[in-house]
């Protein structure tokens, strides 16, 4: 089962829930945690282990073969992203604009634009007891997060298979990186906070996940600050609230030092169990 932990707003507690839920479940069974927030991956901080496996993440871009090129100009005409242009007697590729669609390469009549890999990030993994950790990490200056997210997911699913519980720590927002992260999840947990910012961005996240149709639920973090509007919204929309995590400076302090909260605050174990039960029940029972 694949559980994506997402939120529209950043800093609501996605990584806190992902790492604590994964470590908690790993006390009894094998779990895979995949950090898909490739722009700012933070989950590994909570396990403090060096990577045991590393590989480079590539995307495919065209490479100009001057010896074959007749400067016909088709490549720049077919590129919808302005990633390849003719500059005098040369063809110039802008890798950061390239979407790896292969149109220039495939439609070049001379075969003068073979696709070659270009590094965009790094994948890392380690094992801590029952917990298998995988992280995608975008290189600084690279703009497209999607290939790195896709690679981390593919690596995790090929290595560990579909039967093992897999948790995706997803990026914030509602645009293409989030879509890539959550699209094949069996269940999505949205973490929010009970403020107007939390509510506004939760609504966007709900709209996003409803496009896919998988079951989802909400975890309200920092419960007690703000107001009741998030709960009222969930009631109205019949979205299950899986858990409420109280607003607590102590939890923020534990997070700040890279500690797993449930190990220091045992009450959180019940919360994590409830969240896990709700996910499994929703996926098995096909409710919501």
């Amino acid at each position: 089962m694949k559980i994506a932990i997402a939120s529209g707003k950043g800093g609501t507690g996605k990584t806190t829930l992902s790492t604590n839920l994964a470590a908690f479940l790993a006390e009894r069974e094998e779990v895979v945690l995949v950090d898909l927030d490739v722009e700012e991956p933070n989950s590994a901080i909570f396990f403090n282990r060096p990577p045991e496996h590393e590989e480079v993440i590539y995307k495919q871009i065209p490479q100009w073969d001057e010896s074959k090129c007749t400067l016909c100009g088709i490549c720049s005409k077919v590129c919808n992203f302005h990633a390849i242009i003719q500059l005098g007697p040369s063809i110039v590729v802008f890798p950061e604009l390239c979407h790896s669609c292969y149109a220039c390469s495939g439609l070049c009549p001379e075969g003068a634009l073979p696709m070659v890999p270009k590094r965009t990030g790094r994948l890392a993994g380690f094992q801590a007891g029952n917990l298998h950790f995988v992280e995608g990490r975008l290189d600084i200056g690279e703009e497209q997060a999607v290939p790195a997210i896709a690679k981390a997911k593919k690596y995790a699913s090929q290595k560990f298979g579909a039967s093992i519980t897999t948790i995706y720590d997803s990026p914030p927002g509602t645009s293409c990186p989030v879509i890539e992260a959550v699209k094949d999840a069996d269940f999505v947990i949205m973490v929010t906070e009970p403020t107007p910012f939390g509510l506004h961005d939760l609504k966007l996240a709900v709209e996003t996940v409803r496009k896919f149709g998988m079951p989802f639920g909400v975890v309200i973090n920092r419960h007690g600050i703000g107001n009741e509007d998030v709960e009222a919204y969930c009631r109205e929309e019949e979205i299950p609230v899986l858990a409420k995590i109280p607003n607590s400076r102590r939890m923020a302090e534990l997070y700040s030092s890279g500690k797993l909260i449930y190990k220091e605050i045992p009450e959180l174990r019940n919360t994590l169990q409830e969240v896990a039960d709700a996910c499994f029940a929703a996926v098995k029972g096909g409710v919501q």
């Binding site: 529209g8 707003k9 950043g10 800093g11 609501t12 990584t15 722009e39 700012e40 933070n42 901080i45 077919v78 919808n80 992203f81 979407h99 790896s100 669609c101 292969y102 149109a103 495939g106 439609l107 975008l138 600084i140 200056g141 690279e142 703009e143 497209q144 997060a145 990026p171 914030p172 927002g173 509602t174 645009s175 293409c176 990186p177 989030v178 879509i179 906070e193 403020t195 107007p196 910012f197 506004h200 961005d201 966007l204 709209e207 996003t208 496009k211 920092r222 600050i225 703000g226 107001n227 607003n247 400076r249 923020a252 302090e253 997070y255 700040s256 030092s257 890279g258």
Partner: protein, 291 residues
Amino acid sequence: MKEIVVISGKGGTGKTSVTASFARLAGEEVVVADCDVDAADMHLLLNPDFGYSEDFYSGEVSFIDQSNCTRCGICANTCRFDAISFTRGAYRIDPISCEGCGYCARVCPTGTIINKPRLSGKWHISNIRTGSLMVHAKLDIGADNSGKLVAKVKNEAKELALEERKSYVLVDGPPGVGCPVVSSLSGANFVVLVTEPTLSGLHDLKRVYELVKKFHLKAGCIINKADLNPEQCAAIRKFLEEENIPHLADFPYDEDFSRAITQGTTIVEYTNGNLKQLLAESWEKIKELTN
């Protein structure tokens, strides 16, 4: 006219609360740009009137005209984004997965695939209650090209600032280090980094600062929730010293941040306490360093 961009790397460090407070303090001297177009929240604090709105089209999306389709399947084999599948007896393009490269349309033997401009959001120019103007936007769910919408919002804000003879464009940036962040940094005169003393906060600050350095931009840093973890706070200060980044201020861990948001107002309006003073001093420092 100078452009000041507020970013953080990590989400939830208080960027928007801080930026909205600066907007309040600056009043008529700034045009505000909310460039967190994925999850724009600044409008919840500054009461924009959505005075002018325009659709934002970016890139294309492909459609199959079913009446001429011979079901040859070349399009599906060509698509690198798994956007075309054979369902309910026909090839169909999933608009969310389609990146608009148009390769399918070019290889379709019957010319039955067409590309249409993709409506991917809306942007607005608003009067806000600080006596100034704000440019803001909403990206459609799942849309690509948030970087382009960020660029649009910024450029509109710049033009307005020039027309209206404002001193600054104040930009609330998105989290992360990817395309929307790169887009909001381009052309900035000063970057305000808002961080928090957590291991994640510092980790993300280092990454986003590497990006700031690539663009050779001047920056300063605010440590929010500074008293949450003295050890991490010291680690951030050390990093700022090593990198010669001016340390603009330490803000305390203060639930007034959340309370002000809940009241739909800025911190400097919500409280008369120490935090208001610190924000005012920071804004003055930022202006000094920008000019």
